[in-house]
Symmetry: D3
Amino acid sequence: MKIKVINPNTSVSMTHKIGLAAQMVASPGTEIIACNPEMGPISIEGHYDEALSVVGVLDEIHKGEAEGVDGYVIACFGDPGLLAARELAKGPVVGIAEAAMHTASFISTGFSIVTTLSRTRLIAQHLVNNYGMTRLCRNIRAINLPVLSLEADAQAKNLILQECKNAMIEDECGAIVLGCGGMADLAIQLRQQLGIPVIDGVGAAVKFVEVLIGLELGTSKVGDLAYPISKPVVGMLSSFTL
Amino acid sequence: MKIKVINPNTSVSMTHKIGLAAQMVASPGTEIIACNPEMGPISIEGHYDEALSVVGVLDEIHKGEAEGVDGYVIACFGDPGLLAARELAKGPVVGIAEAAMHTASFISTGFSIVTTLSRTRLIAQHLVNNYGMTRLCRNIRAINLPVLSLEADAQAKNLILQECKNAMIEDECGAIVLGCGGMADLAIQLRQQLGIPVIDGVGAAVKFVEVLIGLELGTSKVGDLAYPISKPVVGMLSSFTL
Amino acid sequence: MKIKVINPNTSVSMTHKIGLAAQMVASPGTEIIACNPEMGPISIEGHYDEALSVVGVLDEIHKGEAEGVDGYVIACFGDPGLLAARELAKGPVVGIAEAAMHTASFISTGFSIVTTLSRTRLIAQHLVNNYGMTRLCRNIRAINLPVLSLEADAQAKNLILQECKNAMIEDECGAIVLGCGGMADLAIQLRQQLGIPVIDGVGAAVKFVEVLIGLELGTSKVGDLAYPISKPVVGMLSSFTL
Amino acid sequence: MKIKVINPNTSVSMTHKIGLAAQMVASPGTEIIACNPEMGPISIEGHYDEALSVVGVLDEIHKGEAEGVDGYVIACFGDPGLLAARELAKGPVVGIAEAAMHTASFISTGFSIVTTLSRTRLIAQHLVNNYGMTRLCRNIRAINLPVLSLEADAQAKNLILQECKNAMIEDECGAIVLGCGGMADLAIQLRQQLGIPVIDGVGAAVKFVEVLIGLELGTSKVGDLAYPISKPVVGMLSSFTL
Amino acid sequence: MKIKVINPNTSVSMTHKIGLAAQMVASPGTEIIACNPEMGPISIEGHYDEALSVVGVLDEIHKGEAEGVDGYVIACFGDPGLLAARELAKGPVVGIAEAAMHTASFISTGFSIVTTLSRTRLIAQHLVNNYGMTRLCRNIRAINLPVLSLEADAQAKNLILQECKNAMIEDECGAIVLGCGGMADLAIQLRQQLGIPVIDGVGAAVKFVEVLIGLELGTSKVGDLAYPISKPVVGMLSSFTL
Amino acid sequence: MKIKVINPNTSVSMTHKIGLAAQMVASPGTEIIACNPEMGPISIEGHYDEALSVVGVLDEIHKGEAEGVDGYVIACFGDPGLLAARELAKGPVVGIAEAAMHTASFISTGFSIVTTLSRTRLIAQHLVNNYGMTRLCRNIRAINLPVLSLEADAQAKNLILQECKNAMIEDECGAIVLGCGGMADLAIQLRQQLGIPVIDGVGAAVKFVEVLIGLELGTSKVGDLAYPISKPVVGMLSSFTL
């Protein structure tokens, strides 16, 4: 089966990192297609960035449908464009935030999210509420480093580790949810350092998509997530006409 | 003061209708600039349409900021791009769904929403929840006509009237919220026919924006709605780089 | 149009202050009638005070209806008697707590309330819940000064300023809601000192009432807020027989 | 011990009926003092009536404290003035709505409320929410007869019985909560006719007050329910100055 | 009337203490039968312990029904097996956690729970949510001593007192709910030391069961709590076949 | 990897059916061990049955840990003993109700549950609430056949099909969740007949356990789900002493 893992921002190095994380957990029969849109912001750190990134996500779903992709992962912790993507896709589409939180709910009774910039916590909070995780999510913490400095900044790893430790003590959480696709490579090491489950949404989402495809469960096409109604889309976005 | 009323879809005739509704309620000193984006879907009837429309909304906010606009109305009942728009704008930004629901909360203890297509009800439901209106909203009803047929279809008015009557009897609502910017011209007549408040969000939103500007209350620029972080936006969307 | 701004307590100096705040924001065609009841407690700092104040509020609505008043503001942060007042009134009735919170919801994603006495925080909490603001209200803070000392106490302003600063840092709020009608004169100065929106409910409520009257939206008279059923009221309250 | 059962409306015949219901369940050592205020509406069928009735309730609590009353029942299903009364009283104060709902929660997993007029259902709904009974309350039903016709109208009993039967079938409720103090005499007969628990709040509240007094548990006087702050109350209400 | 007070763990000394607390508050005509199951864990400090204890609780209900018991108290703060017990019993069954929380809701606007081990707080949190007490419960605190050391440990009383004081200051609670059946003997002394209501669920539950029996209100046998369907139960549990 | 699929009731034929469903979806490297407890009720149709079944579930987990089982499925729609099982297990434990609901949340915006007996709907409702699925679950429907007649009754399949159709029309759901482990064999056929996703929790749970094991995510052993505290368990249950 073909699973397209879409990094919604346009940072190629992050796409590479996310692709590796996906590849690492994929089953033998799974082909991982890691990509990022050709258009959009280089990182997603607020509502504006997120809104712009959705266009590229939808473009990639579009192309994926033509290419026979069986399912999709949206690999940014805000799950940008999730419902719109589901309208477009026949197969399943899973966001890494929802995948990570659902995973945490299976193995703990309370988790904390550790993310990058403080201002993105609100986006995570909305997801927590929409996904019915209000009772399970004990806190949303930020290390206050920009998304792209996760790679560049030698301090990033330490800051994340420290914030996870704070979460364990102050929030008494049973698991950590990593709140950024760019942290996908840190889960295993952190788990060993902390002694509690640390969940990377990229891996979880890839596996859930595999599961859904394996169970022959695609997106429901009756009702709210039915294919979009065909209509003119004009101007710069005219290529999005269905 | 200058208020830009953005019809998020690209239907010029609907922009005209919305502009008239805005003009009708505007205070003497208010300049109404009704517009629609140069890009995007011709109507918004689902998550895909909505996601695409946001780009155009943000483009109009962008231009508005350069043109000295004091505040904005997003004139589609899904309030597409509301938080992203608030990041961009110095002044207030109000969506017609939130304006209509808040208005209803001032004059009734329960309202029903009457909208166009059944599949858009989920979008309205999300807004109801996010705006804290869960207890007040008694029902979300659809007439099952496409947005653009509100103008063309001679039956549309009757269907809306009938659905409002059903709402009064079955939901025992005290007010009706019109669930589509394209119904902006119907509120007064329906109010007379039904004998209860019927609320058009376009008018309400224009007035609320006037109020906020008058009170010198712009969007909070501390925290979650601070201006977007400057960064490259690439490809087709490169003009959105701040 | 005539808007009656009712200070529910019987402190004439506070009525004067509230009247000035209302006058300052009123539109040219609006006549502000600031008043307080002839009966009731001199300040409202608990459930007992509040319950007694409602009688006077209703008396003022009563008289207002006879005098051709078009709409009302209830200018105490507990919004005492709001639903009962709406039963009596043809036009709109808006409380300053609801006006302030709805305003905050338009321009921020989280606000803190700063009020007077600690024991009144529970009343505010009930309103937050009833108005659907649970997610938006980050904290309710008290300066622990009695309502009437807002005028007398030279320290009051400083205490409020300090508590607002605490709110910004500890609650990470994007806006401040002033939790007492007696703080109506402080909003503008605090806004300048703090750099975030500071919302006085008196001004906001006056404007919202103007908006509702302008849109010809009175209180829904079908269902829960219909005029009270005519019946004997006996004893000291016999003048309240409709 | 002395328990004052306050019928908040001024209908003496209903006070009589409520007094009998209280007397019937009281323990040997309990003295029941059934009363109604000297002032206020003759029945409570909306927010206006309820607001006015609170004054009389507080007057009765006042007098009760002077007379050495140990605890109080507020015998109207809207529990008017409950928190204000608790501020005034040293001992416990229990409303019949809360008593009935808590009782229902001990013996069923879902109850329906059957009340008088449709417009009072909103008041009951607020109580359901405030008392944390949202999940347990399956429906609030009205027979659409005025409160005082419960005595006069020969049909009243049948209408109530029929509505209870509807509740059992349509709501699949396990218990019925009678939604009016004036129905206190019907519980036992209805229980026999229906075969499920039918709960009259008057009896339940009297017993709960006995329990609280017996356990030496009065109203908490630390914090929100501390005695009201002493201050002038002027005009018609000056006798309420503490 | 006969009330069986079931200590769900198998510690005989704790059963004795609970029995004394029950006896102390029982009415003259009430026969208290304090017992603990013949099987199960010696203390309940987690989900596993709790699950095992339920078997014994049901065994005691079983025997109680044969012995003509009129009502039951489940005297462990997790209210183990409450709904299953209600299926078995004709009369009322009340848990001490629900009894204590409902009691607190009658006399305060916010309570804190003080319990033994930190890991049991989650169980209490579930009950708080299920009983609709989310808004009223300000905090759940643990002294981090095992249940059985409440008797042995000389420090236990002091730790509890200290934690109650912390709750008063930090949670600003109006009442304390003791979160363990083994604390039943401490309520009165703590109340005197703290000056606010301190609620022991054992006493409260006994009185509520008396009330329900007195009002002839047994468990609803229509619907969810109807007697269990008769069917084979095999193996070690075969004696539980009905 | 070894996954133990525990049918919590003691019906061997149902265990066989559940085992087949598990086997059908298991990955090549997965060994499915389908079992049912040696003790307990032959079917689970209420709180009493469920409470008794938990003992057997825990016994199977116990044995599983000794046998080197990597993860567990609890294959009854009430997810009996889930948290207690998680305390005992090192690896992941997933219930079929949670697995099915989480699956539905990935591919639809609203699902209906179709279960057996009406009285079990309350158990499902508790799970819906506890799992944060309140908004997603549109209805819980019962066909009113006992669990064991799913096999015997020729009508069962038709009743289920009909109830699913009712759900599609009346609840406008996008997916069906089968509310009983005994329906595990019907999902595929129903999906073909209905044209929307029909989710069997057995298959979903097996796959989720595989995923969690594959990601090396066991149950969090810090905090609430830490191994039970070692202590005496006496009487009939003495073998449960850890």
